[in-house]
């Protein structure tokens, strides 16, 4: 019996190859999309799950004033937690930093982690070599990730004891970390003992400062029930010590589970760029929608094809088949088709995974475990039953007397169902189309909008403060170099320091500002426009900012401010020039500085944040105000050769310092990495939805047209032109497409309004997107159906009419 079931199912499958092909293709696309997204969701949710104590590890985040939470904390916080809070069993710290690695004849820039000795107690990576208990004990310890071991030593074994010079100090390798199979937010790079990080801090007193945030603090807390109380007590503890040390009025902490940090995209300064829980959820929903579209296709075509199976039902019933038996028959066929689709989908997933990994910037592995196999089996059954239920129940309910007389005609409910399913499909496609258009336009807008600086042709190099003057004078002689500068921060990176300013005539009104200490030529290098007054100049010795801690009032230096600060202070750019601002407060005394110029606003980080009011001060020497980044502007079309020549100049003045550079354009693009990824994925899904909908419509149109072949012949004989026939056939779907747009577009409108409101800088709701979606869906419908309609309309009528 079972064998017969499958024989009949297979024969039926082969009988109408076009319909079967369309059903199968739709299901394959739907199931493939679903599986790939499930892989992605599982991958996103699997970050940090491999660590044994993952559930007990928490990251301490700070919330300072009205700022977003940040993962960067004071260096002393870990010690304070373990000493003063019994709930905290242990704490560890991680501080990332760029280092220069000298090996053999080369100098390389690497991103290193400075970590406490108990780092591997928390994050128990597997070591290929080395002792997890002691590998960070010695001050010259060095743990390498296996990729770095291969890079420097061409092997991952026998590396223990080998040496690398890092930032001028020799370290010996004490461990090699194996690449984990599960993703983690811990950067897979070299690890150095934390005490070496202290050597990089220019002022030793900062190490214990409550307002010097230079590390990520993780704590082991075994009793999660007490977390909320702990948050309160730690916040109070921290606030009482940090208050007054900075311009922030409040200082709170959040104790965040390690397993939650990857999908949290609101906390800044994470070790690795986070993903977004919202987007993971959204894409899960979209993958379900595509699967639904495929199931709808299946149902629609099966129901339509039921017309020609009516006789089959009548005969079976006449021979004694029960309704249950018939339902089983037809559901089996559906499940068989979905099984074939699932198997082919797995093959397609395997083939598409590399491209998908590239799209999502992930390293997902095709690994179908037992639980995943069970899930797939359940999916296959669910899809088969979902898609095959209605046709099975419809067919099994047909009256044998009617069908044997050939009286199976298109029932109104059947037509209504098919039309409803078409409307649902086009509604989903139209919705995704609008969403895709709005998202793409919004992303285009924020990428192309005026950023307040010119990002083309500028590289940013880490460090260089010791050798800056020599480097600058030599580099400026290069014909391709336009300008060189140094600064504490650069556009695309956060403003790391802040200040509080006041108008002289309104001392009590304190305004928080971001502060960027710079050297000469900063504004020229970044193409930041001067709106009024002047910028810092060598000609004016008093431009240099110098704080006099013994006598704050005699602190010197001029200020350049941005347009937002001028407006906040109640001045136009012209009015602001020459005005005095009062700086300082809290621990520092108040001191006044004159504004010499107002520049246009520049977006630091990205346009997801509002432009902060900014002050710029001039550092005489890079070390004076801890300038960190060297920026070089090249002429347009500069070659790699020129870059190499500049690198040689750099190495000439700083032989032990790697020339690690980034193009500002790349930094700019990477700050929208998530958004770009999400936009690409949305575009892919929208295209898939349209394809699945179109092929479903194609199948249904083919079926409908086949049913009307005699009518078409008669109409042609009666005088209908090809155009009139095509229009008649195509138009039967027009109203359905229009109705689907009427349903989907208001929904899309509300969701997109909501989404756009997340952006500070945003486009107005583009109503053209809705128009385009409607027009495009109609076009898709027309083109799809026209292929069938034209063939039918140009067929010879005599071939369609038979003599009886």
């Amino acid at each position: 019996m079972v064998k017969l079931l499958f024989i009949v199912a297979w024969r039926n499958f082969c009988r109408d190859k076009l319909t079967s092909f369309i059903q199968l293709t739709g299901l394959i696309i739907g199931i493939t999309s679903f599986i790939l997204i499930q892989f992605y969701v599982d991958h996103q949710k699997s970050y940090n799950t491999a660590f044994t104590d993952a559930k007990d590890i928490y990251r301490i985040n700070l919330i300072r004033g009205e700022n977003k939470p940040q993962a960067q904390t004071p260096l002393r916080l870990a010690r304070e937690l373990t000493q003063n809070f019994t709930e905290v069993e242990d704490a560890t710290r991680i501080s990332p930093s760029s280092v220069s690695v000298k090996h053999l004849q080369g100098v390389y820039s690497e991103r290193a982690l400075y970590a406490d000795a108990n780092y591997l107690d928390f994050f128990d990576f597997q070591l290929i070599e080395g002792d997890v208990n002691t590998s960070l004990d010695a001050p010259d310890s060095l743990i390498l990730h296996q990729d770095l071991a291969i890079k420097y030593f061409s092997t991952t074994v026998g590396v223990i004891g080998k040496r690398l010079t890092i930032n001028g100090k020799e370290h010996q390798v004490t461990g090699v970390v194996k690449k984990p199979t599960t993703p983690t937010t811990m950067p897979l790079t070299m690890i150095l003992p934390m005490e070496n990080f202290y050597g990089q801090i220019s002022r030793p007193e900062w190490i214990d400062a409550w307002n010097f945030n230079a590390t990520r603090t993780y704590a082991k807390i075994r009793q999660p029930a007490n977390i909320n109380t702990l948050i309160q007590t730690v916040s109070d503890y921290y606030d009482s010590r940090a208050k007054g040390l900075s311009s922030f009025k409040t200082n709170r902490v959040i104790i965040q589970p390690l397993l939650d940090i990857y999908l949290d995209n609101t906390t800044t300064k994470s070790l690795t760029p986070p993903s977004s829980e919202v987007m993971v959820t959204v894409f899960s929903i979209i993958s379900l929608m595509i699967l639904l579209l495929a199931c709808v296709n299946f149902t629609n075509l099966s129901t339509a094809a039921a017309m020609r199976r009516g006789k089959d039902v009548g005969v079976r019933k006449a021979l004694g088949a029960s309704q249950i038996q018939l339902i089983t028959q037809y559901l089996s066929e559906a499940v068989m088709l979905s099984t074939i689709a699932c198997m082919l989908a797995l093959v397609l997933v395997y083939l598409c995974l590399p491209a998908f990994n590239q799209l999502m910037n992930a390293e997902m592995v095709f690994n179908v475990s037992t639980s995943q196999s069970l899930k797939l089996l359940a999916l296959t059954l669910l899809v088969g039953i979902l898609a095959g239920s209605y046709p099975a129940f419809y067919l099994s309910n047909l009256s044998p007397a009617h069908v044997l007389k050939g009286l199976v005609s298109t029932s109104k409910s059947g037509v209504l169902l098919r039309q409803s399913l078409i409307i649902l499909q086009f509604a989903i496609a139209a919705f995704l189309l609008v969403a895709s258009l709005v998202v793409n336009w919004q992303m285009q807008y924020i990428k192309n909008m005026e950023q307040g600086f010119d990002r083309e042709g500028v590289i940013v190099v880490s460090r260089g403060d010791n050798t800056y003057n020599g480097f600058k004078s030599q580099t400026l002689r290069h014909p391709d170099v336009t300008s060189v500068t140094m600064s504490h921060t650069v556009p695309t990176k956060a403003t790391r320091t802040s200040n509080t300013v006041r108008r002289l005539d309104d001392i009590t009104n304190e305004i928080w500002v971001g502060n960027n200490p710079v050297s000469l030529d900063f504004f020229k290098t970044y193409g930041i426009k001067l709106l009024s007054g002047r910028v810092f100049s060598k000609a004016y010795v008093n431009d240099v900012y110098k704080e006099n801690k013994d006598n704050w009032q005699s602190s010197t230096g001029k200020l350049v401010i941005n347009q937002t600060l001028a407006a906040t202070l109640g001045w136009s750019p012209e009015e602001a020039v020459g005005q005095l601002l009062t700086l300082g407060g809290a621990q520092d005394g108040l001191h006044n500085h004159q504004i010499i110029g107002v520049v246009e606003d520049s977006h630091y980080v990205n346009v997801k944040n509002t432009v902060a009011p900014m002050t710029y001060v001039l550092s005489a020497q890079p070390k004076d105000l801890s300038l960190r980044w060297t920026s070089i502007r090249f002429n347009a079309g500069t070659s790699m050769q020129s870059l190499k020549e500049v690198e040689q100049i750099w190495l000439g003045v700083a032989p032990g310092l790697a020339f690690k550079y980034d193009w500002v354009t790349d930094l700019f693009d990477s700050s929208y990495r998530n958004e770009n990824q999400q936009t690409d994925l949305l575009n892919v899904f929208t295209l898939l939805a349209i394809v699945v909908t179109a092929i479903g419509l194609f199948g249904l149109a083919a079926f409908n047209t086949q049913r009307r072949v005699k009518e078409i012949a008669v109409r042609k004989i009666l005088g209908a032109s090809t155009g009139q026939l095509c229009f008649m056939l195509v138009n039967q779907f027009s109203s359905l497409v229009i109705i689907s747009n009427l349903i989907a577009l208001p929904l899309a409108y509300f969701l997109m309004i909501d989404w756009l409101d997340n952006f500070i800088y945003r486009i107005d709701m583009p109503y053209s997107a809705f128009m385009l979606s409607a027009v495009f869906s109609l076009m898709i419908a027309y083109i799809t159906v026209m292929v069938i309609a034209y063939r039918a309309a140009t067929a010879k009528p005599v071939d369609s009419l038979h003599c009886e």
């Binding site: 005609s409 005699k710 009518e711 012949a713 008669v714 109409r715 042609k716 004989i717 009666l718 005088g719 209908a720 032109s721 009139q724 010879k796 009528p797 005599v798 009419l801 003599c803 009886e804």
Partner: protein, 258 residues
């Protein structure tokens, strides 16, 4: 009106070439009611399709109202067909989703006739075929005879010069068949040229001329009266004179009564 000169039409199947019409000569005058008889597969339907310009010929010449149809393109034939020919099919071929009056109106719509004029013409033919009381009905609600009357109405609403009927009574009972044939005869008497394919020899008496086909050729071409007389002569040849008179009388009665 129509002139076939040495026309041929073949169909090439997988292994066999079938000659449906074999070097046929045929002339049809205006006002004739021509019946085409013949066994299955003799080429009747093919001949009708060629006449109706639904199919092309392989060789020979075909002239319709002085138009050299054999030289025309598909589009030109379609235009000619639309202007001059009406069709009646054995299985009616009404459109199930349209009402009776909508079915009849369809050719007028394709002729770009104005709405008011369409209504007037439809009303006229509805009365003509005596189906006005069913004008709002769908075909599924009509009997076979009624459906065929609707099909006839549809065929004549544009006042075509030529009506082609492919076994118009094939799916009807005898009573309805008679009704349909009487209608066709009336149309012919009013001036319509009709060419009808039929399997029913008794229906040739409604026409004026009959041809018999065999293997794609015309084997017999007679006026109806001649045909009947020759049949009568065959019938009485072996009977004595007394019975012949009564048979002659009987035959005359047959001719009179149809």
């Amino acid at each position: 009106m129509i002139k076939f000169n040495q026309i041929s039409r073949s169909f090439i199947g997988d292994e066999v070439e079938t000659v449906a019409i074999d070097k046929m000569n045929l002339t049809i005058k205006e006002g004739e009611f021509l019946s085409i008889l013949g066994p299955s597969g003799c080429g009747k339907s093919t001949l009708l399709n060629v006449l109706g310009m639904l199919d092309s010929i392989d060789s020979g010449t075909f002239s319709f109202l002085e138009n050299p149809v054999d030289k025309y393109s598909e589009q030109q034939r379609a235009r000619l067909r639309k202007q001059h020919i009406g069709f009646i099919f054995q299985n009616f071929n009404l459109i199930d989703e349209l009402t009776v009056e909508q079915n009849i109106e369809l050719p007028l719509y394709y002729h770009n006739v104005a709405k008011v004029e369409r209504k007037r013409l439809v009303d006229a033919v509805l009365r003509r075929v005596d189906i006005s009381h069913r004008r709002k009905h769908l075909p599924a609600k009509l009997s076979g005879g009624q459906q065929q009357r609707v099909a006839i109405a549809r065929a004549i609403v544009t006042n075509p010069d030529l009506i082609l009927a492919d076994e118009p009574t094939g799916n009807l009972d005898s009573k309805n068949s008679t009704q349909v044939m009487e209608l066709l005869q009336q149309l012919n008497q009013e001036g319509a040229t009709i060419v009808m394919v039929t399997h029913a020899p008794e229906h040739i008496t409604y026409g004026t001329r009959v041809i018999e086909l065999l293997d794609g050729k015309v084997v017999n071409d007679q006026q109806v009266k001649e045909k009947l007389n020759s049949r009568l002569n065959e019938d009485v040849s072996d009977v004595d004179l007394k019975e012949k008179k009564s048979i002659t009388e009987q035959a005359e009665m047959e001719v009179t009564c149809g």
